[in-house]
């Protein structure tokens, strides 16, 4: 049976799994690899920025657990959202709505990986990091996916906290506790998430409306969304500078954060004045670059002798 021969609705209800069975790559796709990359990167940043040392093997295990835990949450999210995923153009090709993976297999896969990653983190690294990983998975599944996503336009504002956990987990893996600095990194991602997602929602508003998801552009309109995006990017600027102000990062990081923050605000202003989709698409792409560059500089800043002192 070909994948496209399965009616999306039928597959979404869980009776359309491909007769030939799932490919290994379908299970990889369930883990949302693109989302995972950002999560892993920010977790790695938390690990690098934290004071103290962790054996390289245990550090690698911590990163692996964050990776697998993030993927597990993604798989459970895809299982729960299979009905709306089948409606939206962006998501209808996912393994469950296209009928390539059985929903029961997907949720079992997610649960096993979630339990496995948390247990391994606890046994190999420490139980605080494991607890935070469990909290991040539970928050993404229960608070964002099940509770908020279909109920409120503030879904990604509150739900965005799930994606902000990785630096906290990385920090806790090294130090065994949570301080002000990792909370600042948490808040940074928390404040970055709304403008990032709303940029996407602006040019995918039709999709979200069709699926009945109350994203801000659908409920409040494009103008209100653009205004809120601008507010969040302005608030993000001082927050991104906080690691430098707190002495966690050096002057090079501070300068980079200032430049990137200003560019992010410019992107939001361009979205404000753009009646089409172009600026929103560009802002969405830039938002990903923003976080990658910011955390890269943060990591490099902590690498001994590399950037530290360059602009001190």
């Amino acid at each position: 049976m070909s994948d496209i021969s399965i009616p999306a609705g039928e597959a979404a209800r869980g009776h359309g799994a491909d007769d030939a069975g799932a490919r290994v790559s379908d299970f990889v796709q369930l883990l949302k690899p693109r989302v995972m990359s950002l999560v892993v990167f920010s977790g790695f940043a938390g690990l690098m920025v934290a004071p103290g040392t962790l054996h390289p093997v245990l550090a690698a295990v911590a990163i692996l657990c964050i990776t697998v835990g993030s993927g597990a949450a993604g798989a459970i999210n895809m299982w729960y959202d299979r009905d709306i995923d089948a409606i939206m153009a962006r998501t209808c090709g996912r393994p469950i709505p296209s009928g390539r993976v059985d929903p029961d297999e997907a949720v079992s896969f997610g649960i096993v990986l979630a339990i496995g990653s948390v247990t391994l983190m606890g046994l190999a690294v420490n139980w605080l990091a494991a607890g935070l990983l469990a909290a991040a998975i539970a928050y993404y599944v229960f608070v964002y996916t099940i509770w908020l996503k279909r109920r409120t336009p503030q879904n990604i504002v509150i739900g965005g906290a799930a994606g902000a956990f990785p630096p906290l987990i990385g920090w806790a893996a090294v130090t065994g506790h949570v301080g002000v600095a990792p909370i600042v990194l948490f808040l940074l991602i928390f404040m970055w998430t709304p403008p990032h997602f709303w940029a996407l929602a602006l040019f995918r508003a039709g999709d979200y409306a069709k699926a009945g998801i109350p994203m801000l552009p659908v409920v409040a309109g494009a103008t209100a969304t653009k205004l809120q995006m601008l507010v969040y990017t302005v608030l993000l600027l001082p927050l991104a500078l906080a690691p430098w102000a707190l002495g966690v990062a050096g002057a090079f990081y501070g300068l980079t954060a200032a430049v990137l923050g200003a560019l992010f605000i410019v992107a939001a202003v361009r979205v404000w004045f753009d009646s089409g989709e172009r600026a929103a698409r560009q802002m969405f792409a830039f938002s990903i670059l923003y976080l990658f560059v910011l955390f890269t500089v943060l990591i490099l800043d902590r690498a001994p002798g590399l950037l530290s002192g360059a602009l001190a």
Binding site: A22, R23, F27
Partner: protein
């Protein structure tokens, strides 16, 4: 009557190939996990934290 055999066997062949690929992937994951737990045990017993 000679029914064409290819269309009937192709999906079965495909199903078996995918099953085999999934089994091999699972084997690789399990072996990786065994190796990982072994290495973690050595590191932890060496006093690393």
């Amino acid at each position: 009557m000679n029914a064409p055999s290819l269309p009937a066997t192709a999906p079965e062949d495909l199903r078996r190939r995918r099953q085999r690929a999934r089994n091999l992937a699972l084997l690789a994951v399990l072996l990786g996990l065994v190796a990982l737990i072994y290495v973690i045990s050595i590191v932890r017993m060496g006093g690393a934290s």
